[in-house]
């Protein structure tokens, strides 16, 4: 499924609300949760992470994975948490509106 513009950022923020993760963990989590229905290219995800860090919604630290590899771990900042709340509410609104439009039936007119 192609993502609506701007939804990737919210998804990433939501994913990280469970705790600090590195890039691959985030994409795995997204795939798992959506039952494989949300496909994000890895390049887009990494760009999104940089973008969110630039906006100070995420903070990043180098850490070590369970397999003993170095990885950049991202965590939500306070501002990120607030942004998640706002943007997920806005997104839910949008989806509701879309659903209302798309589920309109002829009899309703």
């Amino acid at each position: 499924m192609a993502l609506l513009k701007g939804t990737l950022d919210v998804l990433v923020l939501k994913t990280l609300s469970w705790g600090p993760m590195h890039g691959f963990e985030i994409t795995s989590w997204l795939e798992e949760r959506s039952g494989g229905r949300i496909g994000v290219t890895d390049a887009a995800l990494l760009q999104a992470l940089h973008r969110l860090e630039e906006r100070r919604l995420l903070s990043a630290e180098w850490g070590v994975t369970r397999n003993g590899r170095r990885a950049r771990y991202y965590a939500l900042t306070t501002a990120g948490r607030a942004a998640l709340r706002e943007e997920s509410a806005a997104l839910a609104d949008d989806v509701e509106a879309l659903t209302a439009v798309l589920s309109a039936r002829r009899a309703d007119r």
Binding site: H22, G23, T41, D42, A43, L46, Q47, E54, A71, A79
Partner: protein, 807 residues
């Protein structure tokens, strides 16, 4: 919450400083991004391999899932990482500034006395500098609002006999320059001194300041009227106005708004200007005023073309020509050509032009001229004041910093770099400077308004000193410079002292360290030196002013009131008395000398053209001052446009009778009173031409004749009519009315109504050795009536009358 995150960021930044990790460079950010991408690819490959995919296939799948070629992804990640780092650095810097600023404000709030003193001192310094700068900017720095103002030059005549100073030009010479000097694209002229004109026909009579210009004056400056039309070249000459039967007028936008209600229908309105029919033909653009901001309207000269041949038309140095250089011509070439033409004119007209030279100066410099240097000096003086303020605040800060050594040492010991401490101190200085600057700006605006009100009218070309972006920028610059000046010292001092050393030194109680003491001492010395300089300058200025005030103007100014009256020439018979017998002032009570230029104490003692003395006898050669005075010869020529329309006629004495005066305007105040309009109207035309024709000096003796018209003109002593100004009605005092170069008599008044001047023995005030003293002595009989007078020639509008009343 945000505070907590701020603290968190602060701690992280601190930790990075601690381990020397910060700040990451662009290359480091790129490496970071590469490492992250590789780790990501590895993680996915491992994940796939763990699911049983062959390693090579897993790697290919990982690259495919990237969504784009590896190199492209790498490049775009580099870009985004670099942007992120840039942004992060800026934010960190802003954070530090924010916390430093807050800390600085807390520190300042902790010692309100220090802060108040420093801010006040700074505000005074910055405010004074800003106020003066606004004046300098308005007067000196603002370019003239004309097209290509640097191509405009003021032309002048000069003569070694007159001291070689730039003089106004005579109309004929101006016209010759205009025709003969090919280096000038155009030459136009105006009369530098605004003339008070009476406008009637709009309800209340109004006294406005009018300026005569040549027809092409505005088009040469590159200006077009906002409404209506410009003057035409032909309107320089009287013929055009004769044909039209009315004088064209251009209004200033202010006059248009205030007098004509800002209505477009004002263009085309017919009014009476000094009793002559005039028509408003246009309105100049908003904000345009020339030569001064007081000007209300412009009218073309309206010279009679037959004047061209008259000798006095070459001598009436009363107009100021402005030339626009032709394209591609240098100022040097134009000047050389102008001088050549002037020399040729000297040969052609030896009687008038033999010793007259011509010159030109850039218009802006010429207009600003006298006021430039004092203003710059004043700016320098307030600049020094700002320096003193900086030194004072620097001193205060230095002492304060010395008192905070322990705190600074603790900071240094806890790991604050010297740069960090310097930045903190600099932030404090900056906060102080900003506070001072803000208050200073407010003071500056107030000071600017005060300057506008205090400046003597006519001293500067402009009356408003706008506080615009330039002035604000200057104030900001002054603030920054001040912050740098007084903030640098404590910061440097803090930098010099090492942490341990300072801590050890701070352990000992009291006493500033020798370095600080030396700097403080040096500052005090510099401050006292600069202050002494300023005090000396101010003292000299005050002394000069006191000396000037002590100069005896030659008359007793106490309890004397001067009243200016405008008597429209068109309504009065104008004559030049030919014998002293007509000067009897009242029935046998004495003589009534007349004048219309106030002997100005401001100008006269310095001989810059003010004392308009005339020779004692019309036959005698005019004195130097008489010839030099533009007044003597100026008036018949140009200042009276109606006079210039005249045709030569033999002066014949008019039956003299009383003169009705109406209060019009006060010389000392700008208040305007309605003019009396009770006199019979005479349409501008043949009648007025006839009357004014007598103002023409007899041919053959232009100079002396004009001096005669000037200095020896006598009127009957004015009737103290009921319409006279309040001051002239004072019964206890005596009044003298004087008119300029002519006597004015309203038609139809009866000789019987002529009043007599109250007799009193005049104080003989003419004791100062002014150039015109001999004239005075010969003219002033010991038993003169109270009609006091000055022999000075008429300087301001010849239609002005002056009443002098001694209470």
């Amino acid at each position: 919450v945000s505070g907590a995150s701020g603290v968190g960021r602060g701690i992280r930044a601190g930790v990075r400083r601690l381990f020397r990790l910060a700040p990451r460079t662009r290359a480091m950010a790129g490496d970071d991004a590469d490492a992250e991408l590789d780790a990501f690819l590895d993680a996915r490959t491992e994940h796939l391999v763990a699911r049983g995919m062959p390693p090579a296939e897993a790697r290919a799948e990982a690259l495919r899932r990237l969504g784009a070629p590896l190199d492209d992804v790498r490049a775009s990640l580099h870009r985004s990482a670099a942007r992120r780092e840039r942004r992060r650095r800026a934010l960190e810097w802003a954070d530090a500034l924010h916390s430093d600023g807050r800390f600085a404000l807390r520190q300042l709030a902790r010692s309100p006395a220090f802060t108040a003193t420093a801010v006040l001192v700074l505000a005074l310094g910055i405010g004074a500098t800003t106020a003066i700068f606004s004046a300098v900017r308005a007067v000196v720095l603002r370019p003239l609002p004309f097209a290509q103002p640097d191509r405009l030059y003021a032309l002048w005549e000069s003569s070694p006999e007159l001291g070689g100073t730039p003089e106004s030009a005579a109309p004929s010479n101006y016209l010759d320059w205009k025709e003969r000097v090919s280096s000038f694209a155009d030459v136009e002229a105006y009369r530098p001194a605004p003339e008070q004109v009476t406008i009637t026909g709009l309800g209340e009579p109004l006294v406005l300041d009018g300026v005569w210009v040549t027809g092409g004056f505005f088009s040469m400056l590159g200006l077009r009227p906002m409404l209506g039309r410009d003057f035409s070249e032909a309107e320089t000459w009287a013929e055009a106005t004769w044909r039209a039967g009315e004088v064209p007028l251009l209004l200033s936008a202010r006059t248009w708004r205030t007098v004509f209600g800002g209505e477009a229908s004002a263009v085309g309105r017919v009014v009476e200007l000094n009793g002559a029919r005039a028509r408003v033909v246009g309105v100049m653009p908003e904000g345009f005023a020339f030569p001064s901001e007081a000007v209300d309207l412009w009218a073309p000269f309206g010279w009679a073309s037959e004047n061209r041949g008259a000798a006095w038309f070459r001598q009436a140095r009363s107009i100021r020509p402005i030339a626009r250089l032709a394209a591609g011509v240098t100022a040097e070439r134009a000047r050389a050509e102008l001088e050549t033409v002037a020399a040729r004119l000297g040969r052609e007209h030896p009687a008038t032009n033999a010793r007259m030279g011509a010159g030109m100066s850039p218009l802006h410099a010429f207009l600003v001229g006298d006021t430039r240097t004092p203003l710059i000096i004043l700016l320098g003086a307030v600049g020094l004041m700002l320096l003193i303020a900086c030194a004072n605040v620097g001193n205060l800060l230095l002492v304060r910093t010395a008192g905070r050594r322990r705190e600074l040492a603790v900071r240094a010991a806890l790991g604050a770099g010297r740069g960090r401490i310097v930045r903190q101190l600099a932030t404090e200085s900056l906060a102080l400077a900003l506070l001072g600057g803000a208050f200073g700006m407010a003071l500056g605006v107030a000071g600017t308004r005060l300057l506008e009100r205090l400046q003597p009218a006519g001293l500067l070309q402009v009356t408003a000193f706008p506080v615009d972006a330039g002035v604000v920028a200057f104030a900001a610059l002054a603030t920054a410079a001040a912050a740098l000046l007084f903030g640098a010292l404590p910061a440097l001092l803090a930098r010099r002292a090492g942490a341990g050393e300072t801590l050890r030194a701070a352990g000992r109680a009291g006493g500033a360290e020798p370095g600080t003491r030396r700097i403080v001492g040096g500052l005090v010395v510099a401050e006292v030196a600069v202050a002494a300089l300023l005090v000396l300058g101010a003292g000299l200025l005050v002394r000069s002013t006191m000396e000037l005030r002590r100069v005896d103007p030659g008359f007793e100014a106490d309890r004397v009131v001067a009243v200016s009256l405008n008597l429209p020439g068109a309504r009065y018979r104008v004559r030049r008395p030919s014998s002293r017998s007509s000067m009897t002032c009242g029935p046998g009570s004495g003589r009534c000398p007349t004048w219309s230029r106030w002997p100005s104490p401001r100008r006269s003692p310095f001989g810059t053209g003010a004392p308009r003395a005339t020779s004692s006898s019309p036959a005698a050669p005019p004195t130097r001052t008489a010839r030099r005075s533009s007044g003597a010869v100026r008036h018949p020529a140009t200042s009276r446009r109606w006079a210039s329309h005249s045709s030569p006629a033999a002066p014949s004495p008019m039956p003299t009778s009383g003169v009705a005066m109406a209060p019009m305007a006060s010389r000392s105040s700008t208040r305007r009173w309605p003019a009396a309009t009770s006199q019979a109207k005479t349409p501008w035309g043949s009648g007025s031409r006839r009357t004014v024709s007598r103002t023409r000096p007899p041919s053959g003796a232009p100079s002396s004749a004009s001096s005669a018209t000037n200095g020896r003109a006598r009127s009957r002593c004015p009737r103290r009519s009921s319409s006279s100004s309040p001051s002239t009605r004072r019964s206890s005092g005596s009044c003298t009315s004087t008119s300029g170069w002519r006597a004015v008599t309203p038609r139809g008044s009866s000789p019987a109504s002529a009043p007599s001047c109250a007799s009193s023995t005049p104080r003989s005030p003419w004791s100062t050795p002014w150039p015109w003293r001999p004239w005075w002595r010969t003219r002033w009989p010991a038993t003169a009536s109270s009609c006091s007078s000055s022999p000075a020639s008429p300087p301001w509008p010849s239609s002005s009358r002056w009443s002098v009343c001694t209470a």
